[in-house]
Amino acid sequence: MTVVNTLFPFVSSITTFVFAFFVFKRYRERNTGHLLLWGIGLIFYAIGGFCEAYFGAFGWNDLIYRMWYLFGAILVAAWMGQGTVYLLAKQRTAHVLMGLLLIGSLYGIFKVFSAELDPSLLTTSTHTGSELSGHAIVTSGVRSLTPIFNLYGVITLVGGAVYSAWIFFRKRVLLHRTIGNILIAIGAILPGFGGAFSRFGIPGALYIGELLGAILLFAGFVRATTPMKVREGQMVEPAAS
């Protein structure tokens, strides 16, 4: 048990649970679909973090591993990204993609919960089994799901946040939303960075990336939803012509 493989994912989990609470609170006030999906995605993030912390503290558990792989490895990014799709795309397009995501998610649930597992294979990873990875899945066709879901997630969530930031910047309006979206984009990309470095053999990279990602996503959401007090004269108005 180390700080990195127990405390870090535990803090990620708590952070995203609290974050989800605020997103669901805002959803109740505004009743917009994208907030509901972001909230659900954040609950997935929190479940993933909890499972990692559980594994770090208590070791292997079949159900915990399956839940981690389903929520933490496959679904989280895609469901959060789907929220952004509802925010930015036409409703008809968003509904179609939502239907595909639901079908894919149900298929993912079936594949993950019917997969054969071998915990001894975790030790074949670069971190000698101290951190969770997909290596324990024996059945084929399960691990190949993650890049599909996660590519959809990164394109929609990170791409959507960058696109939103660019739109606000181009119009020079709502500075807090420009900054908030940049923070959200960085936060959303950090777990992917962590995953990449983890595959290169850097211990703790995934969990650190997830923790920093959770913090930046939360900070970005707070920034984007809290108007900034720009001092008089700071915002340069067009010269009279």
């Binding site: 990164v154 420009t178 940049i182 990309i189 992917g192 915002m235």
Partner: protein, 46 residues
């Protein structure tokens, strides 16, 4: 506010300098991550 007027508004200078750099850096990183993920199968592959 017309589009023309909007385009002449400016954020405070610090943000005018840093935001485009941040956005373009993110775009480059996204492209690299996508290429790596698709090409090598890491990053978003667990």
């Amino acid at each position: 506010m017309s589009e023309q007027t909007a385009s002449k508004r400016k954020y405070p200078s610090f943000y005018e300098r840093t935001i485009p750099v941040a956005i373009w850096t993110l775009v480059v990183i996204i492209v690299i991550m996508l290429v790596i993920t698709i090409g090598v199968g890491i990053g978003y592959f667990h």
